[in-house]
Structure formats: structure tokens, C-alpha cells
Symmetry: C2
Subunit: 201 residues, 2 copies
């Protein structure tokens, strides 16, 4: 096949991530990664060590982007109901994916078997970072209902994000995910904040 | 090799389901199903048509059990907060699985690719039946907060079940799942009902 194409690290990783996200780890043979990227197996192994190494690099690249996009979302809105609403609505982007791939991190949680505990650890680490960002956002929110604890609420919000992405993957109606968002916000924020943050319906 | 063991349909299906639930569809070659069940590939294909046919039969068997266990749970408790609490606490059984397999249906949602839309349909159908049972339970609940709509609340509760099972698969602390249950019930039921239904802490 001759020399591999002159891929830079970032675009190779991005092509590998797309491929593994499309089909999942177990359903993606290395031969398919070779076919999709045009980089031969020996070069892939030289770079990443093994198929597991490729998957871990892809998970880390995806996680970095997910963390960064949450950071930007949270930075773009002042603390309070609007900030958490923005995060939950961001998860609804999964409904616009024509391939209905859902979230690569969530998909990986459920495909982890006893053979691949390192994937579970990588996902847990990324989820922990995002949960911490949510907790800090909730700690700064002036409009939480009395009794709502930011650390518990952060885990609760994160689970709604997973659920919204699973709904998209299951081809549910987007209205179902919208009702999840409404119910989540109503569970955490004062009525006053909720009515203030509503746009015109 | 010789003749396959005299498996009855139910125990063969149950062995196939365990195997596919352990590792997921893509990571389970037919050769492994043969090895685990002792039934040769020709017999499996004769019964189920294809590897996809085996998976669909396993999903349907698992779904039947999941639906039946929800039916029993709901029948065992009078309508109201206690009934929904029982359903959510039931999902926490995933934390006791030493293999941390999570839920076969939820795992399948995220491992579905464009090659296997029939799995998505099978899971969606089972989820729809369980959601309908939750909706009927919520319609009969005397202690919902004003404004809570049983159909929306049913979808909301179902997503918490998925989230609790994902937390177990991710080896989160059970206390995190318990806080999800508390927050979910507080979002749906009156304070009076919540304090009445609490056991001694």
C-alpha cells in the first residue's frame, strides 16, 4: 500500500473517533479503521499500541471536546436556571444527528465488559469532571429551591443529560426530552426563576 | 460434539441471553454462544435463523421478564409515592450485580448501529410498555404535586431508571443513585406524601 497519507495527529484521531463512535468498539475491526483512515495497521499500532489504545485515545479526544463545550456553555450564561437549561438543551443536539449515534461516552458505559475496565475508568473520569463543573454552577445559582444540594443536583442533572441522549438514540419524540428538561428544572429551581427564565411560549 | 444436549427452549434462551447480556451483541461471536450453550451453530441457526435472530429472541425474553417484574412491583404497592419509589429502588438491584452488567435493554439502546435497527425497535417497544404501566400508576396516584402530568412524569421516571442503571455500570456510589431517587420523588409528589412514605432514617 506504500506510505500512509500525511495525516496530522488531530485529524487522524478525529477520523478514528468518528469510526468508533459510529459503530462502537466491539463492532469496529482494526481493518475498518485502516480502511476509513487510509493509515495502515502497523502505523496505527505504532502510534497507539493496540486497538484498546486507539479506543482510549478516541475516548479521551471526545471527552476533551465534551468537557470544553460544557465549559463554554456554562461560561456563556450567568449562574441560575438559564445555565442549567442551556446545558440540558445542548444535550438535545443528539436529536439532530442523522445517524442517531447518541453520545460516545454514554454508549461506551454500556458496552464496557469485564475485558475493558479501562474504558469505564476513562468515561467515569470525564463524567466526574463534567459533574464537578455542574456542581460549581449550581453552587453559584441564586435561584435553587430550598433544600436542593448542589452536589446531588449535579448528579441529577447529569443523569438527565444521559437520558436525553438515550431518548434520541431510541428515536423518541423530541417533545419527550423537552418535558424531561421542564421537569428537571422544576425540581431544582424556584417557580419565580422558572417563569422569569421562560421565553414567550 | 455429537447431538446437542436436550435443552428445552426456555433454558437455551436463558443461556443465550446471559451470554449476550454479559458481552453485548457485537462482542459475542456465534462460536462463543456455541461454546457456552453446548448447542452447535447449525441447531442455533435452525431455531433462530441468524445471529440477529438469536439476539432478538434474547431481547424479547429479557423484555418479557422486565415487564413482568414491573407489573408485579406495581401490583404489590398501592398507587402513590410508595409505588414509584419501589420501581426506582428496584432499578438499584443493578448495583448488586458482581459483573456490573447494567440493563440488557439499556445496553442495547446504545450499541445499536445503522446495521441493527431491529434491536432498537424491540427495545423501544418494551420501553413503551413499561412507560404505559408507569403512566397508569401515576394516573392513579392520589399524591402528585399539582401540575404534574402522568404521561410526562412516566417518561421522566423511566429516564431515572436508565440513569440509575448507568450509574451502576459506571461503578458510582449507590448513594448517588439514592439521591437521584429522592430528587425524582420530590419532583413529583407532595411533601406530605414524601414525609408519610419515609421510613425512619
Amino acid at each position: 500500500m506504500g506510505r500512509p497519507p500525511a495525516y496530522d495527529e488531530d485529524s487522524l484521531l478525529s477520523a478514528l473517533t468518528e469510526c468508533l463512535w459510529d459503530r462502537g468498539y466491539a463492532a469496529t475491526p482494526v481493518s475498518l479503521l485502516v480502511e476509513e483512515t487510509g493509515v495502515n495497521a502497523a502505523s496505527l499500532y505504532a502510534r497507539y499500541g493496540s486497538k484498546k489504545g486507539i479506543m482510549l485515545a478516541a475516548l479521551e479526544a471526545y471527552a476533551r471536546e465534551a468537557i470544553e463545550s460544557h465549559r463554554q456553555l456554562l461560561a456563556a450564561t450567568p449562574p441560575g436556571v438559564g445555565q442549567i437549561r442551556a446545558v440540558l438543551e445542548h444535550a438535545m443536539a443528539c436529536f439532530d444527528d442523522p445517524k442517531a449515534r447518541g453520545c460516545f461516552l454514554v454508549n461506551t458505559i454500556t458496552s464496557v465488559s469485564e475485558d475493558t475496565p479501562e474504558f469505564s475508568l476513562a468515561v467515569a473520569e470525564a463524567m466526574e469532571i463534567i459533574r464537578r463543573m455542574l456542581r460549581e454552577a449550581l453552587e453559584a445559582a441564586p435561584d435553587l429551591l430550598p433544600g436542593v444540594k448542589p452536589d446531588e443536583a449535579a448528579a441529577f442533572v447529569q443523569i438527565q443529560i444521559w437520558g436525553i441522549k438515550l431518548l434520541a438514540k431510541l428515536h423518541a419524540a423530541p417533545a419527550t426530552a423537552e418535558s424531561v428538561i421542564r421537569q428537571t428544572l422544576a425540581a431544582l429551581f424556584t417557580e419565580e426563576a422558572l417563569s422569569g427564565a421562560h421565553g414567550p411560549d
